[in-house]
Assembly symmetry: C2
Homo-oligomer: 491 residues x 2
């Protein structure tokens, strides 16, 4: 056996023995059925520790290169062959025809999103990204998160990897409940369900409350991923226009009067996409309308903690004494977007029923990430991080509004949010999504055409500007470009 090792190399000796042996086998220098030297003998010959050889052999066994025989001889194994992949093979089914109407609608919406995303590629080149609603990863409190994950795995590793509680990790639910009580929401840990981001919360609620063909009342414009989710579930959105003060409540009353609405969907804080925050009186009237009509009110508090200026009224859920409000929260917009941890709180029976839907749709969440977040919050890291990113985004939003005042053409207007990440820009005319996206890309910016936020995706005179990702310098560059792009918008 011609195995050589190099003591000066960076690769560990164990790995050198493993890869060297593989090479000999792959090249045919060692053939199936041949016996390898006992680990003791090879160790002596190479001048390494016997356990090093032993471990290398174990790795080779695991990968199917060696077979261990009684008496611990290691024999080269005839390797199982990978079958080839044939990229030209065509299946017999037309999956579009086999799909449900809802799944077809979701597929079409997904294709539209993918083609929109492909047209700008913010990560490539020097495009300023005003499209992504993801907390700036440069701001992640990585060291703190690493330390809590390490401690969770060291102290509760087994429990972190077993099936967890159906409603979610109890101490996390208790921590969220305490936090919500500080926001004026009277809630216990049993009235909380942890979900895979608030998107799953939305899906579970639709599956709980909305039979196919039923209707929900939706602010228009609204969260872009909510509309295809309704379509997936065969549920029809009934539009209620947004005004500068929030949802048009007279219009809502007419909608609720006209027909059976399964729930009302609202984002009272830093509404996506408009950035509007409603005042207390608006919240009281909205709640009273839903209570009087007996229609559940879904409050999406996705950016509850992202207030930068002045006072923001307490959540609708905090003034709800009759269990009318179902409240959604998430860690995605104030901490890590990709950890996929959100929650729903509502009447206990409603939460129990949502949990049953979740049980059969995915058997519940991984405890690992929940335990990490719980410890992260308990040690105060969440609040510390919140303070830190508030400072950052307060400045970013200030710079954004200053630059907008300076750079926008006269016939363009926009909202002035007090928190969150999005501004809603009104252009001089309606324009199709693809055309607008292409025009902006030509000026080195990406932003989201308003069409995405309206049912049917019809051309709109709006544009959503999102400042989650770019820093202050990038914002200055981007808004200068936006001013030029909009000034040159073909009329």
């Amino acid at each position: 056996m011609l195995l050589k090792i190099d003591r000066g190399a960076k690769m560990p000796l164990r790995r050198q023995i493993e890869t060297g042996t593989k090479r000999l086998i792959d090249q045919g220098a060692l053939r199936p059925g041949e016996t390898l030297p006992p680990s003791r003998e090879l160790a002596r010959r190479l001048g390494v520790n016997r356990s090093t050889v032993y471990q290398a052999y174990a790795d080779l066994q695991a990968q199917g290169y060696l077979l261990s025989r009684p008496g611990s001889y290691n024999v080269v194994q005839a390797r199982r062959k990978e079958v080839a992949y044939d990229p030209d093979r065509r299946g017999m089914f037309d999956w579009a025809r086999l799909s449900t109407a809802g799944a077809r609608a979701a597929h079409d919406a997904n294709l539209a999103l993918a083609s929109g995303a492909a047209s700008h590629r913010p990560d490539k080149g020097r495009i300023v990204d005003f499209a992504s609603l993801e907390v700036d990863p440069r701001l992640y409190p990585l060291a703190e998160f690493r330390s809590v994950v390490r401690r969770v795995l060291a102290e509760s590793g087994r429990d972190a990897l077993r099936y967890g509680e159906l409603k979610g990790y109890l101490p996390l639910r208790a921590g969220i409940a305490r936090r919500l009580r500080l926001h004026g929401i009277s809630v216990s840990e049993d009235e909380i369900l942890i979900t895979s981001g608030s998107q799953e919360g939305l899906d579970l609620l639709i599956r709980l409350l909305c039979p196919q063909g039923s209707r929900v009342a939706v602010e228009v414009p609204t969260y872009a991923r909510f509309l295809p989710l309704l379509a997936l579930n065969g549920v029809e959105p009934v539009p209620v226009p947004m005004t500068p003060a929030g949802m048009d409540l007279d219009a809502l009353e007419r909608v609720l009067e006209a027909g059976r609405i399964r729930f009302v969907y609202s984002m009272p804080n830093f509404h996506n996409p408009t950035g509007i925050t409603t005042q207390h009186a608006h919240r009281e009237r909205l709640l009273s309308i839903c209570q009087t009509r007996g229609v559940p009110l879904l409050e999406d508090g996705f950016e509850e903690d992202m207030k930068y200026f002045g006072k923001v009224p307490l959540p609708l859920k905090s003034i709800d004494t009759r269990g009318v409000v179902i409240y959604l929260g998430t860690f995605s917009k104030a901490l890590f977007s990709g950890l996929r941890i959100g929650w729903v709180t509502a009447d206990r029976d409603c939460i129990d029923r949502l949990a049953a839907v979740k049980r059969f749709s995915d058997l519940g969440m991984s405890p690992l990430t929940q335990m990490a977040i719980e410890r992260f919050c308990r040690l105060g890291f969440y609040d510390l991080n919140l303070k830190r990113i508030h400072r950052v985004y307060r400045r970013r939003l200030t710079v954004t509004l200053e630059e907008m005042d300076r750079r926008m053409p006269k016939n363009v207007t926009w909202t002035r949010p007090v928190g969150g990440y999005t501004l809603w820009v009104k252009l001089p005319r309606k324009i199709g999504a693809a055309e607008l996206r292409g025009h902006l890309a030509g000026y080195g910016i990406a932003a989201t055409p308003g069409a995405e936020f309206f049912p049917g995706g019809r051309p709109s005179e709006y544009l959503r500007l999102c400042i989650a990702r770019p820093d202050e310098d990038e914002i200055r560059t981007g808004i200068r470009r936006l001013g030029q792009a909009l000034a040159a918008l073909p009329l």
Copy 2:
């Protein structure tokens, strides 16, 4: 300020300053508006490092105890009050009435499961748990997993916490594709969707292929969590009996002839609950029937890697040249049950459409756990662990079958699986689920009544014995007790 610290205590100095200050504020010794000593001065007075005081102050700010004023004075803050929780408050809605029929069915199934689980409490007392189908946590390769998580967070922390790719982490998909090709399945990474366990894969497939009121063909008995999932989605199971050789294929042909079936659901290896593994000829005929009738075949390979004895035929998907088979896999039954990572592989267009359903139902998976599993597999830990748990479960299954031969009454029969975790025991007579569970609990054992695996949950003469959790000694004790319990079963 009366703050004292104790250098002999185990609590870090920073934490002592923090909790001591909190106590003074909570007791009213420090009142809102009062100024705390500057960190430099307090540090000198306590004889600690200034940064220790500084960090303690930062923690207190984060928790709302202190407000930092210009010039970095720290002022005691009037704390936001938690609202009280009123457990007696009742909401105005009847959530059962507001629920869809599917959600009501899921809720009922969930209640039945919860009452079943409550009746034995395997973790309490000395009950032997033959009910749980969860890899024994005592066998978890924790040290290896900790090390891969640490390295993922150190090397790719930011990417691990951002939104990930819709179909799942690409290197994980590539690794799974390679592994499937070693099992004879010709597949590329684009034909794989990572899911939150295979349960989510089942749900996505039903949502893709099954309109409300449609029908799927199901082995009976079958996986217990599949039936309520169908009910949740308003889909009807059409039963096809199991024979000792697998699904009754003559019966399947009659079912497919009789009416429009959206897909056929089958577990060819170590079928849950019966433990039956089908032979190659059975697989060929099953595939041929589905192909001829043009009906997708869902192959649940949930325990593909858990073969302990002899040769097991290659998956149905490996002999499928026409894209008839949709294959489900998971890490839950061979590694960690609670990590919630599974996958689906099928025709590319089918996978793209499933991904669209997943996009709007939960925006995709957390990259963190996917990256950890990918590295775990790439370093060979998965294969090493598999070898290790094979040795353990081969012994456990051998002991189980030996003890069954020795301990069972004459009028009891059972299956003899070659892998997986479950045996299917036939009792002398039919018995309701609650009665059987109660009877077994009286003898100190928990196992799952057969009723759970049949549509409608009607009384059955079967019992599922699952050996995932108990070790060899516990198995010996448990099967001795089972023999006594069944001998004493009231006729």
